[in-house]
């Protein structure tokens, strides 16, 4: 993958000879290498355990590589003058490491599914690690083309992964829905990028920012259209209202671990892409009000519809739509802010919220996977009634994640996430949006609480499903996610520092 991106980056200004900083590219090499290695191991050894182990080792290596490279100074490569297509700094390292860790978590969650034998292990691991490569590159993308290609590399394998449940009509439907919507979204973004290029002559994010801020640029309606198209296309990827309708159907049809991936890593990717273009390239006076409205709609619609859901994964899907609204909210305040400091704080708040969110969301999915039979879908909420009485620890983990998503103690991670967003909104002068966030937190509590209380309700009346023994890998993933969530709940400054770096 990285080869392809290298060429794209290089060919945008073909006349210059470049030196390539291979250290900056190390995480991308590691991720892409993992994907290739998984393919080879699956081909040559043909043993599922070896394949999964390779993928897991590769994800760990990618995490370590990203952390090692990111701990140093910011590294830039594929530069044309001052504009670079690949910028690997602290933030990129955070996102790359997070994506790799999420892949690791999803691999753990897919243990029972892969063991059940309905899923081709090699293909699953290969596609997952391919998607990881996209996420790693995305974090460092410095121009629109690299960004869009990286988002596609992140998403493309998912079309197949969503449809991986053999013999399931819902799964096939989900895959087709996802494919169609996603392709349309990509087209929109590409069209927007092309129009932007036509209007300004720039593709590098920082350069676009400077060009669009330039007074000399003629105030064409074209620019606004282009900006709207780029933002709308990326809003599809984060499932923001009104581009959200694909998410619940797709999540519900997909195998549970893939749904977990969609609502964590894939959503994180969309958020990062959106952050990148809003932060560097597009004028906040245009994107700010649009994103403020989108954020308010997204959280309100997501929460209200989630209230009525009776299927576990659909509830999580709608709640994850609502959560995307909270992530986008700080970006909505940016139009009103003029100081650079406050803007940086807004981006940092959005990223910090996203980090807290993916952690808790992964834990929630891990809890659901652990409490469901191997290879099953999410089922109805009622099938989880009283589950915490049968499996106290797993049930407590799931309840903790749900409470965290609702943003209440003892889920301090979620509480601080909400606090971060409200703070950045009030600081940014968007008090009304802070109130919308606040009211939505109350609506959100209604269904999270219902779900969590259901886990502890007496099972009487409803026939308990077949006895489930939570798979060890899933329990480990749940434990790790819960412990990390607890830790960052007591020391949220770590996340805030990383997100603000």
């Amino acid at each position: 993958m990285s080869e392809q991106i290298m060429w794209l980056g290089a060919t945008s200004e073909p006349s210059l000879v470049q030196t390539v900083d291979h250290v900056a590219l190390l995480p991308a090499y590691l991720a892409a290498g993992t994907a290739v290695l998984v393919l080879l191991v699956d081909l040559l050894l043909a043993r599922p355990v070896a394949t999964v182990a390779t993928a897991a080792t590769g994800a760990v290596a990618t995490t370590l590589g990203a952390a090692a490279v990111g701990s140093g100074a910011e590294r830039r490569t594929f530069c044309v003058g001052a504009d670079c297509s690949y910028v690997f700094g602290g933030r990129a390292a955070l996102v790359a490491a997070l994506v790799a860790l999420l892949v690791l978590g999803v691999l753990a969650l897919s243990g029972p599914m892969l063991r059940a034998g309905n899923t081709p292990v090699g293909e699953f691991c290969f596609l997952l690690t391919c998607s990881m490569t996209g996420g790693v590159v995305l974090a460092a993308a410095g121009d629109l083309i690299t960004l869009i290609v990286a988002v596609e590399v992140l998403t493309l394998p998912l079309y197949v992964l969503v449809g991986l449940r053999r013999g399931s009509l819902a799964s096939a439907e989900a895959a087709v829905t996802f494919f169609v919507v996603s392709v349309v979204a990509t087209t929109l973004t590409l069209l927007g990028a092309a129009l932007l290029y036509a209007a300004t002559g720039g593709l590098h994010l920082e350069r676009l920012g400077a060009l669009l801020a330039d007074e000399a640029l003629p105030d064409l309606p074209l620019t606004t259209v282009a900006v709207t198209l780029v933002v709308a296309g990326l809003a599809f990827k984060v499932a923001a209202v009104p581009f959200h309708a694909w998410a619940p159907a797709t999540y519900d049809g997909a195998p549970l671990p893939v749904a977990a991936y969609l609502s964590t890593a894939s959503k994180l990717g969309g958020v990062i892409a959106l952050l990148a273009v809003v932060r560097e390239a597009l004028p906040p006076e245009v994107t700010g009000p649009v994103l403020a409205v989108v954020a308010a709609l997204t959280m309100t619609v997501g929460n209200l519809v989630a209230l009525r859901q009776r299927r576990t994964v659909r509830l999580l899907a709608w709640s994850s739509v609502a959560q995307a609204g909270y992530i986008l909210a700080p970006l909505g305040a940016l139009a009103l802010v003029t100081e650079a400091d406050a803007r940086t704080a807004g981006y940092a708040a959005a990223l910090a919220y996203a980090v807290f969110f993916v952690l808790l969301e992964l834990a929630a999915f891990a809890g659901v996977v652990a409490l469901r039979p191997a290879g099953a879908d999410g089922g109805h909420l009622d099938e989880l009634r009283g589950a915490a009485r049968r499996h106290p620890w797993v049930g407590a983990g799931l309840a903790f994640a749900l409470i965290g998503l609702a943003g209440l103690p003892p889920g301090l991670a979620g509480l601080f996430a909400k606090v971060t967003v409200v703070r950045s909104l009030v600081d940014g002068g968007a008090g009304w949006l802070a109130l919308v966030v606040a009211i939505n937190a109350v609506i959100g509590l209604a269904y999270y609480l219902r779900f969590a209380a259901l886990l502890y309700a007496p099972a009487g009346g409803v026939a308990a499903g077949p006895a489930v023994r939570p798979a060890r890998a899933v329990v480990v993933a749940l434990t790790v996610a819960t412990v990390v969530a607890l830790a960052v709940g007591f020391a949220p400054q770590v996340v805030l520092d990383l997100a603000g770096s």
Binding site: I403, L408, P409, P410, L415, F416, K418, V419, T420, V422, R423, V426, D427, G431, A434, L435, A438, I439, A441, V442, L445, A446, L449, R450, A453, Y456, A491, P492, Q493, L496, D497, G500
Partner: protein, 511 residues
């Protein structure tokens, strides 16, 4: 670390560690005993806070801050969110801290003897201790964000207590009713606390600090900021207190909660609202407080009248006591709304008195319901004949609640009215008259309660009662009876420590 700092940390750490220990010990009886021990140690630490306090009141200079804690501890926690672990105790918070520790101890001890049906006893005790951590933290926090954090801690454990152990097992509709009550409680109070969150950050982002000590008096906040902040904060605390018309979560939650839950809810949870109003809303946004005082006063008097009238028509024991809280908290809020020294003193002593008396009333109502399995007043007449001690205690608590001079309830209500009269002007005089009328109504409904319950011919349910009281019950109630007498005879127990901080607060507020 000085003794004071150590005690402050101990007051929060003891119940927190106690809760963990109770949850970790598998043997129910042992676990509950450990919980009682933790609660007892907490009470000792809370009482000890009054010792060796800094008596710097005489050195009254213009530069000294309006909040001068006896002891404080200030550590950084999350600089990115302006959150510091800043605790302190002074004469305004100390009586409430002791009241919280005492009521939690009594509830834990009571749970040693009787666990309401629904779940494991040790889980209940652990949750009670977590609730205690939240309430104590709220009273001790001197950082706005920390205050909000502790404010939120209380919510879910209390919800779990209501839906886990609440209701009456005999009633088939009970699970639904208590789930509804629990959900209403959780959503209502979360609504309050999210407004608090926004209000807190309106202040923090304008002032650049979350330190309550530095912020008290309004600092350099502009008028517009203060009005916005006060509106948000007052709404948040009005839900918690609760102030009419935001009170409708309270009767359901109190009625459905188990006895120990009701005691904590009425005894101290509501005080988080009134305490927050004094310390945070009035302290941080005094200009907003002056602006909104008439509205607050009118609503408070409305609460008194509505609460009393609803009580007159109640037919269920626990619900009646629950609604009486609306009226009593109305007096407390009226005192605060006057923004005078008398008024705020009345509010503080009213807070403590209501905590003691209503705690006792809920204990007694729980005991009656446990014995008779009904709360309907019509089925309870003649209690005096078969259970004279129980009925005597109920009479004592009811008389204390209606504000008989010499008992704790008198001071808060009487001086709230006096403060309103002293505030002068047509509005406040009218409010004072109406509040006094509300006081008469309070007497009417409590006497009606006594007439219905203690007097008359024993009904079949009541006739089957045995007169004795369990030792655990006496142990849990005796401290409250004694305190109701002590505070009534010597209000200086509360007012003595609160006088100086209230003066200091008004020094900056009433400008």
């Amino acid at each position: 670390m000085s003794t004071g700092e150590f005690l402050l940390v101990a007051v929060l750490a003891l119940p927190a560690l106690g809760a963990l220990a109770v949850a970790a010990i598998p043997r129910d009886r042992v676990a509950r005993s450990v919980g009682v021990l933790a609660a007892a140690l907490t009470l000792v630490a809370a009482v000890a806070l009054v010792a060796d306090r800094e008596q710097g009141w005489t050195a009254y200079a213009a530069t000294t801050p309006a909040v001068r804690p006896w002891h404080s501890i200030d550590l950084p926690w999350v600089p990115g969110l302006d959150l510091r672990f800043h605790l302190g105790v002074d004469g305004i918070s100390w009586p409430l801290v002791v009241l919280t520790a005492l009521l939690t101890l009594l509830c834990c001890a009571y749970s040693l003897w009787r666990v309401p049906g629904g779940g494991a006893g040790r889980a209940l005790v652990a949750l009670l201790l977590v609730v205690e951590v939240g309430i104590l933290g709220t009273f001790l926090a001197l950082d706005l964000v920390l205050f909000f954090l502790f404010f939120e801690v209380v919510l879910l454990p209390m919800y779990a207590i209501i839906i886990g152990w609440g209701g009456d097992g005999a009633d088939p509709a009970a699970p639904d009713a208590r789930r509804r009550a629990g959900r209403k409680f959780a959503l209502y109070t979360l609504f309050g606390s999210v407004l608090l969150l926004v209000g807190v950050y309106v202040v923090v982002s304008a002032a650049g600090t979350a330190d309550i000590v530095a912020l008290t008096g309004g600092g350099d906040l502009s008028r517009a900021t203060q009005l916005a902040a006060f509106t948000l904060l007052a709404l948040a605390f009005a839900v918690k207190s609760p102030l009419w018309p935001l009170h409708s979560w309270l009767p359901d939650a109190h009625t459905q909660a188990p006895t120990v839950g009701s005691v904590l809810l009425a005894g101290v949870l509501l005080k988080m609202g009134t305490y927050g109003l004094i310390r945070v809303a009035v302290g941080v946004a005094p200009e907003g407080a002056r602006w909104a005082a008439p509205v607050l006063g009118v609503l408070a008097v409305a609460a008194i009248l509505v609460g009393s009238l609803v009580c007159l028509a109640q037919t269920e024991l626990k619900r009646l006591i629950a609604y009486s809280s609306v009226g009593h908290m109305g007096f407390v809020l009226l005192g605060i709304a006057t923004l005078t020294a008398t008024g705020i003193q009345a509010a503080l002593i009213g807070n403590v008195a209501h905590g003691i008396i209503t705690g006792l009333l809920f204990f007694l109502a729980g005991a009656i319901k446990d014995r008779t399995h009904t709360g309907a007043l019509s089925e309870l007449s003649g209690l005096r004949e078969t259970a004279p001690r129980l009925s005597g205690l109920l009479a004592f608590a009811a008389v204390a609640s209606l504000g008989l001079p010499g008992l704790a309830g008198f001071w808060g209500e009487a001086f709230a009215v006096v403060a309103a009269v002293n505030a002068g002007g047509a509005l406040w005089t009218t409010l004072a008259v109406l509040a006094a009328f509300g006081g008469a109504l309070t007497a009417a409904y409590l006497l009606r309660l006594l007439r219905r319950v203690t007097h008359g011919q024993p009904t079949p349910t009541v006739a089957a009662l045995r007169p004795g009281l369990a030792g655990a019950e006496l142990a849990a109630w005796a401290p409250l009876v004694l305190l109701a007498l002590a505070v009534g005879l010597a209000p200086t127990l509360v007012l003595g420590v609160a006088e100086a901080p209230v003066e200091a607060l008004l020094g900056v507020v009433a400008r």
